[in-house]
């Protein structure tokens, strides 16, 4: 059974179609990256899953039912949707206690969550004195209060320093190892690339790709990079053969032909190459390729 089941989810805000017929299902114990540029519809989709936003059409089911029908939902689903969602005058500890009390979670669990996100020392301080990274960690602590089996995290890396990002990766892997299901949205692709099993890519409200990360990356064409003092001449030749080429001074990034094809073309035309290599596409390449295709198709 799917942990999260989204079918034909659509949301229109006046004239703006924020989410357009999005469908996906998440299996237990997986980490899924929900990727897309700012304004693509990630947050709106997540908010529809947890009933904060009413869909114009379609349904979202969590653990077999609607979020609002879950008993003590915060102990089943943890959602980080807005790290600034704390009263600035309330202490970090009390901010968590408020959430814990409304879910019937004991105060001891608040102390454990503060410990886990390394905020025990700052727990007495008012949230207004927290840095962005501390607020983000407080929000993560809040999500962990009920030890939920499903985590929905909207841009959890925002405001975290490199050490924090690494901590987040370890944290997410740890949750998946415990059999929990994680849906993590981000527009910083490198942030989730090393963490996720599957990806959902959304652009302009539409889901444009989904599947295991290896499978999607395998479907993207590799990039051939080369450097040549005659880069302009090589660019013309490659473009004439229908290759997609980006040039910066002596460096070329080529999509279409293989490295062998590029090397042969350079040899046949007496062009000197200083560097020639094939680069496997990253998630970022894949995303840009898909987003670019959509843009070109519009």
């Amino acid at each position: 059974m799917s942990v999260i089941d989204v079918e034909h989810l659509t949301k229109r805000f006046g004239k703006v179609l924020a989410v357009d017929d999005v469908s996906f299902a998440l299996q237990p114990g997986t980490i899924t990256g929900f990727l897309g540029p700012n304004g693509a519809g990630k947050t709106t989709t997540l908010r529809m899953i947890v009933d904060l936003v009413q869909p114009t059409r379609g349904t979202a089911r969590v653990l077999g039912g609607r979020y609002r029908d879950l008993a003590r939902p915060w102990t089943r689903v943890g959602a980080l949707l807005d790290a600034s969602g704390f009263h600035p005058g309330r202490s970090g500890r009390n901010a968590l206690r408020v959430v814990a009390r409304s879910s019937g979670i004991p105060d001891e669990r608040v102390e454990q969550a503060l410990e886990l996100v390394e905020l025990t020392a700052a727990a007495k301080r008012a949230v207004k004195g927290y840095s962005t990274g501390m607020r983000q960690r407080l929000a993560l602590g809040c999500v962990l209060l009920g030890d939920p089996e499903v985590l929905l995290l909207d841009e959890p890396g925002n405001g975290l320093d490199p050490e924090g990002i690494r901590w987040l990766r370890t944290f997410l892997r740890g949750r998946a190892a415990e059999g929990k299901t994680v849906l993590v949205s981000s527009h910083v692709l490198a942030e989730v690339e090393q963490t996720v099993d599957d990806v959902l890519i959304i652009s302009k409200g539409k889901l444009v790709a989904q599947g295991p990360i290896g499978q999607l990356a395998g479907g993207a064409s590799p990039v051939v990079r080369c450097r040549s003092p005659q880069a302009g001449r090589l660019h013309e030749l490659l473009a004439g053969r229908g290759a997609a080429v980006n040039r910066l001074d002596e460096a070329l990034a080529i999509r279409g032909p293989s490295a062998a094809d590029v090397g042969q073309l350079a040899l046949d035309n007496g062009i000197v190459l200083h560097e020639l290599l094939t680069e496997q596409p990253s998630l970022e390449d894949l995303f840009l390729q898909i987003a670019g295709t959509r843009r070109a198709g519009q």
Partner: protein
């Protein structure tokens, strides 16, 4: 519901808004009493000796504290939107109607408690002040247990609680804090008075005029509001009707609104 009640009480306790309300209410209630006791010539006080309890002890608290409590009610709801805590509130309790009902109840109790504390303190201040000047405030044991007096005090406390709850409902309907607070105060302190001045028969039925007619007794209301006054019980009934309508509208609209 119990979990929500506990969370709501902690929300109130863990910020300075409620404490600020109490301090402001105490100042507003006691300051006029202290100034009146100190500055009004004794012969003028003697002339109003029969009404001293109303003039010095109860009036300032009874007429100003409900307005403060109303603003507190608005803040307790609009702060949730302003600071984004509403997301966590509805994530932990997705049945939004229950959240609003609990907030209405908790704020109503706080409003009534603040009125009780400030009223008592104002009365004590007035008693001490008048006795120091050789006057009798006129409180007799028999009057304290008199049914009408008990009823009037109960109505004042209830109405202040309901005014606070009315603020919660208004805050849920108009989520923008500045618009909500400023709009309500302008309506309560200016627009209703203008309407009451131009059309007294209409003015007495308006919400804040109705509240006022409960918290000061009917005779005083005629002076304060400048309109033919409803009796305390009639005004209380009108107040309850307004609050019921506003609360139902708040629940209905909150359940359908997106939290973005």
């Amino acid at each position: 519901m119990i979990d929500l009640l506990k969370a709501e009480v902690l929300k109130v306790r863990s910020t300075r808004t409620a404490l600020g309300l109490l301090i402001a209410a105490l100042l507003i209630a006691i300051l006029p009493t202290v100034l009146a006791v100190l500055l009004i010539p004794k012969e003028d006080l003697v002339q109003t000796e029969g009404d001293l309890i109303a003039v010095l002890g109860v009036m300032p608290a009874a007429s100003l504290v409900p307005i403060l409590c109303l603003v507190f009610g608005i803040l307790s709801m609009t702060n949730e939107y302003r600071h984004g805590t509403i997301s966590y509130t509805y994530l932990t309790a997705p049945r939004r109607g229950q959240v609003i009902v609990v907030k209405l109840v908790v704020c109503a109790v706080i409003g009534a408690a603040v009125m009780l504390v400030t009223g008592l303190l104002a009365l004590v201040t007035a008693t001490i002040g008048t006795e120091a000047r050789g006057l009798d405030l006129g409180i007799k044991a028999a009057e304290v247990t008199d049914w009408e007096m008990v009823r009037d005090v109960a109505l004042v406390l209830l109405t202040t609680g309901l005014a606070t709850a009315f603020g919660v409902a208004l805050g849920a309907l108009i989520r923008h804090q500045v618009v909500s607070v400023a709009g309500t105060l302008i309506w309560a302190l200016a627009v209703e008075n203008i309407i009451a001045g131009l059309k007294p028969t209409v003015g007495q039925w308006l919400p804040f005029t109705a509240f006022l007619q409960v918290v000061v007794n009917a005779e005083e209301a005629e002076t304060v509001a400048g309109v033919p006054a409803l009796s305390s019980l009639e005004a209380f009934g009108v107040s309850v009707a307004y609050i019921a309508v506003a609360s139902v509208a708040a629940v209905y609209i909150t359940m359908r609104r997106d939290v973005t």
